[in-house]
């Protein structure tokens, strides 16, 4: 690496002459070694999924969850250094709680992403700290009902001053990805970690921007993509962990929840099947070639 020995990579808050912060770039390297995580924003919800690499046979199956609930309607998954991720989640929970304390209403996904982006960025500024070794994917469903106030007692005027705005659209599903530099964008599909290239290629095929994909299909796609992304890393075992968030009228009633076991297993079965089919196709093609 060209930077080694130049001294510019030894601390935060020092730019290299060509305008790079090497500490941040090393943090990105830490992320690139972590298990793949992805998020899908679809028509009626958000799905988060992570490839949890099994580091020891002594770990209990299904324990040590990697996807966290931050507020009722918010979930976070991340790739990279797990302790850093844990701290990120603690902070995200504090942020959403303090938002509720001041505004008496749930924090919108965009605002949480903004605050957490700011928080991550602050860790690129000072000598005394290092950047977060994670890239986090934040998924949320902001209530599509009129913005509720915590502890509200009545329903307010139905029309007129202070009344409801007719035809106003509230909330919806949102997805953000925050990188070690503090950079964050909103996405339809986000992927990070070891298998991100393959995962991104698969996500792009889904045409998420058109809003055609349903939440249930998104769960199945998410499982498949994690399996595809894992393909290059076949020697290691992994567990699939998935969570989802729908609107108030959907299966999770606006809450961030783990995908039910039955649905997850079904999605995994389909994912494995689709991988096998692909392998068969490949073999067939190769056979064809041989014959030629």
């Amino acid at each position: 690496m060209t930077s080694i020995g130049t001294g510019y990579d030894l601390a935060n808050s020092i730019f290299s002459p060509d305008g790079r912060n090497f500490q941040v770039e090393y943090a990105v390297k830490a992320v690139e070694n972590g298990g793949t995580s992805i998020g899908i924003r679809c028509k009626d919800g958000v799905v988060l999924a992570v490839e949890k690499v099994v580091t020891s046979k002594l770990l209990k199956q299904g324990a040590n969850k990697r996807i966290a609930t931050v507020d009722r309607h918010l979930g976070v998954v991340y790739s990279g250094m797990i302790p850093d991720g844990r701290h990120f989640i603690d902070r995200a929970r504090d942020e959403s709680r303090s938002w509720r304390d001041t505004f008496k209403t749930p924090i919108p996904t965009a605002d949480l992403a903004s605050r957490m982006g700011g928080y991550m960025q602050a860790y690129t500024l000072y000598q005394s700290v290092r950047p977060f070794g994670i890239t986090a994917i934040v998924g949320g469903f902001d209530s599509e009902l009129e913005a509720a106030v915590d502890g509200v007692v009545g329903s307010g005027p139905s029309v007129g001053a202070g009344g409801k705005a007719a035809g106003k659209k509230y909330g919806g599903p949102f997805l953000y990805m925050i990188e070690p530099s503090g950079l964050y964008w909103g996405y339809y599909g986000a992927a990070t970690g070891k298998g991100r290239q393959a995962a991104k290629a698969e996500l792009e095929k889904l045409d998420l921007g058109s809003g055609a994909l349903s939440l249930l299909d998104a769960v199945k796609e998410a499982a498949r993509i994690i399996y595809v992304a894992h393909d290059d890393n076949k020697d290691k075992e992994f567990e699939l962990e998935m969570s989802w968030i729908s609107g108030a009228d959907g299966p999770t009633k606006g809450l961030h929840q783990e995908v039910p076991k039955a649905l997850r297993e079904e999605a995994e079965r389909l994912a494995k099947k689709s991988l096998e089919d692909e392998d068969d196709d490949d073999e067939k093609k190769e056979d064809d070639k041989m014959q030629e």
Binding site: K65, T69, R72, R93, K104, H256, Q257, E258
Partner: protein, 268 residues
């Protein structure tokens, strides 16, 4: 222009005389709730075979003024328990927000789909009641009471119906049927006819229990001057909470009013 901010917005001394600054004193002992302001009246609850029913009307009164007429006094906790609030409405809102926070803390653990762990909702109604009891008793010890009497409805750890009460002094108790405020005098005798003991309550069907509660709400509307004919009713069973917040009292008959003697305009 008077450049002293203390003088802004005050009556002019030359017109009204010297301003009485004693109103502005911030020293002295800390003031705490000494009495309720905007209040809700009775909450009633009864156990039945597979759960509990809770009801409260949708009125918040400011003294004798019917101030807010669409107030939701039954609050769902974690989708498995209901808390019904009588007494001060602002203290109710404080408690509601506090319980909301507690529920979010609960959702961190387990992170959803709890059926996989074989335990649905870790904090049950009995736990919630204990928590509220300690909270209310603590506040009375601090001489800063939360001016409420609340009913907690749901299931206990064994999956049996749970109905209990806590008041502003931290007095906590359970019973097959419970009522706060006027309901203790007007509704409780009616409910005890149907659910005098736990065994009686365990024989009541859901429909029977709903009917009893509806009758009680009607009696309360007839005789409690701080009540309303719009009310909320919640049915809690192992399947969750069914909450209806816009119920209307039906088939009222005020014929009995003619029979009442002793006050009013009658001469005989």
């Amino acid at each position: 222009m008077d450049h002293r901010p203390q003088a802004w917005g005050r009556p002019r001394d030359d017109v009204y005389g010297a301003y009485d600054y004693s109103y502005l004193q911030s020293g002295g002992p800390k003031q705490m709730t000494q009495s309720p302001v905007v209040t809700g009246t009775s909450v009633i609850g009864i156990k039945f075979k597979d759960g509990v029913i809770l009801a409260a009307d949708n009125l918040a009164s400011y003294g004798s003024l019917a101030r807010f007429t669409d107030v939701k006094r039954l609050r769902v906790f974690l989708g498995t328990s209901v808390v019904g609030f009588g007494g001060d409405v602002s203290d109710m809102q404080y408690l509601d927000r506090h319980l909301n926070e507690l529920a979010i803390d609960e959702s961190y653990e387990g992170g959803g789909a709890q059926e996989e762990h074989g335990e649905k909702g870790k904090l049950n109604a009995a736990n919630l009641h204990t928590y509220l009891h300690k909270l209310m008793y603590r506040r009375r010890n601090d001489f800063d009471p939360l001016w409420n009497q609340v009913l907690v409805a749901g299931l206990d750890a064994a999956g049996k119906p749970h109905l209990s009460s806590v008041d502003l002094r931290g007095t906590a108790f359970t019973s097959p049927s419970l009522a706060t405020g006027f309901g203790a005098a007007l509704a409780q005798p009616i409910m005890r006819k149907y659910a005098a003991t736990e065994e009686d309550a365990a024989r009541l069907t859901r429909d029977q229990a709903v009917k009893v509660v509806q009758d009680c709400m009607k009696v309360l509307y007839y005789r409690d001057a701080r009540s309303l004919d719009k009310y909320s009713i919640a049915v809690v069973t192992k399947d969750g909470v069914e909450l209806k917040e816009d119920e209307q009292l039906e088939k009222q008959s005020w014929a009995f009013a003619e029979q009442i003697r002793g006050y009013g305009t009658q001469t005989v």
